[in-house]
């Protein structure tokens, strides 16, 4: 039996706790990194890159990751609807949409990825994170799509980008990829 799915669930669980209990003490101007989103993105990014015969299994992985990532994001969420209610599971829908967008982007860029993977990774990550923040803003800002570009947003993007960059190499190390054409930064 594969331990892949229980490990993914456990990882999301631990990261959710870290994000809400440990990292607030290391905030930068009130910004705490979204570790769940970072792990979610890393998993779907490398999952989409895999060439599999049965495309549905790939979708299944994507849905599974989105569901659990969305669940753990919402369980600790303190975002409320304008009428004071909370919706459990709304992040699942957001992350599914992000997953589909990532899949579409990866499809169009599939031929160039092997050489400069880190750039594709970071750029698609920024795009996905931007989309996710817009969705978050929908709930907390009376369903307005406008994002308030203040200093906190930029710090949030930067903070998450740095951690995503570290996560990329950690995942690569774990997966033991042997692509020698990978451009190494720093």
């Amino acid at each position: 039996m594969s331990f892949k799915y229980p490990i993914i669930i456990l990882s999301f669980f631990i990261l959710a706790l870290l994000q809400n209990s440990f990292l607030p003490y290391f905030n930068i101007m009130g910004v705490v990194p979204n570790l769940i989103f970072i792990l979610f993105f890393i998993l779907i990014f490398f999952s989409v890159r895999e060439k599999v015969e049965d495309n549905f299994n790939q979708y299944y992985d994507g849905f599974f990751i989105s569901i659990f990532a969305g669940f753990f994001l919402d369980i600790f969420s303190s975002i409320y609807l304008p009428d004071g209610r909370q919706v459990l599971g709304i992040s699942i829908i957001y992350l599914l949409i992000v997953y589909l967008l990532v899949k579409i982007s990866m499809y169009f860029l599939r031929e160039r990825q092997d050489k400069y993977l880190i750039f594709y990774f970071l750029s698609i990550f920024l795009f996905s994170f931007f989309i996710y923040n817009i969705f978050l803003n929908l709930l907390s800002n009376n369903f307005s799509l406008a994002l308030d570009f203040n200093r906190a947003i930029f710090i949030s993007f930067l903070y998450n980008l740095i951690l995503a960059y570290s996560g990329f190499y950690i995942h690569k190390f774990i997966r033991q990829e042997k692509n020698d054409n990978q451009l190494k930064l720093f």
Binding site: L17, N20, F22, Y25, I75
Partner: protein
Amino acid sequence: MNVYIKKENLLLKKIITGAVILFLLIVFLNIFQRQIRNSFYLISYPISSFFQKTGSKISLFSESFLNAKELKNENNELRNDNQKLLSEVSLLQGYLRENLASKEILDNNKSNNFNIVLAKNIGLDISNDFILLDKGLDDGISENMPVISSQKVLYGKIFKVYKNFSQVMLISNKNSVLNVKISQNNEPTKTLINGAVKGRGNLSIYLDLIPFDAEIKEGDTLTTSALDGIFPRDFLVGKITIKNKNDLKPFQTAEVQTFFDAKNIENLFIITDYKQEK
């Protein structure tokens, strides 16, 4: 072609099935939202509190390094502020005591209408029974003015006046003699008995020149009688503690416990315009 269409239909069915399952899942999660959240928080509480404590400790530890210089400066500033505030508090407490004493004497002085000057006790000479006040000639003080407390307890009279200070001879001074009347608490209608309070030194006094046949009791209160022309009447002097009656002497004496507390008093009042009642 048929295979392709079949595959497409199968994929569509799977997508629809997935969408329905997702919808049902979200509905289920929201129906039992409270219970799910509660259970989740209960399970995660031990780990979450461990992470919180660890995060707090590491954060404090790193902050102490990063902010060491700022902490030191802040500490010094706080220490200086604290000292300033302590000094201000002490000053304000002094003002408060002055105000309370002034209020008290004004309440007590309503019937007498004396002019009084507030003065601070700045020195006590126990061996000679003198105290030093911070008011003098510049404040309109002159010799023989009575000195009392806010509770109308007699302390003494101005003995010597300087420009900004004055010396008060306490009633316990060996050279002090003042006329008093003895009030018997349980028999207020009885005829008042007059006597003389003399100083013994070391802040103690005794009662003398009580007529031999006068009946005095322990606990009787002594107040000024105004017969000497220096002190107004009805200011508190002391209380009889032990009476001494000797058949060989023409007068009775008694030990007196004073009402004044020269060691602890801070604010006193000098009566500046007392004139003997005619």
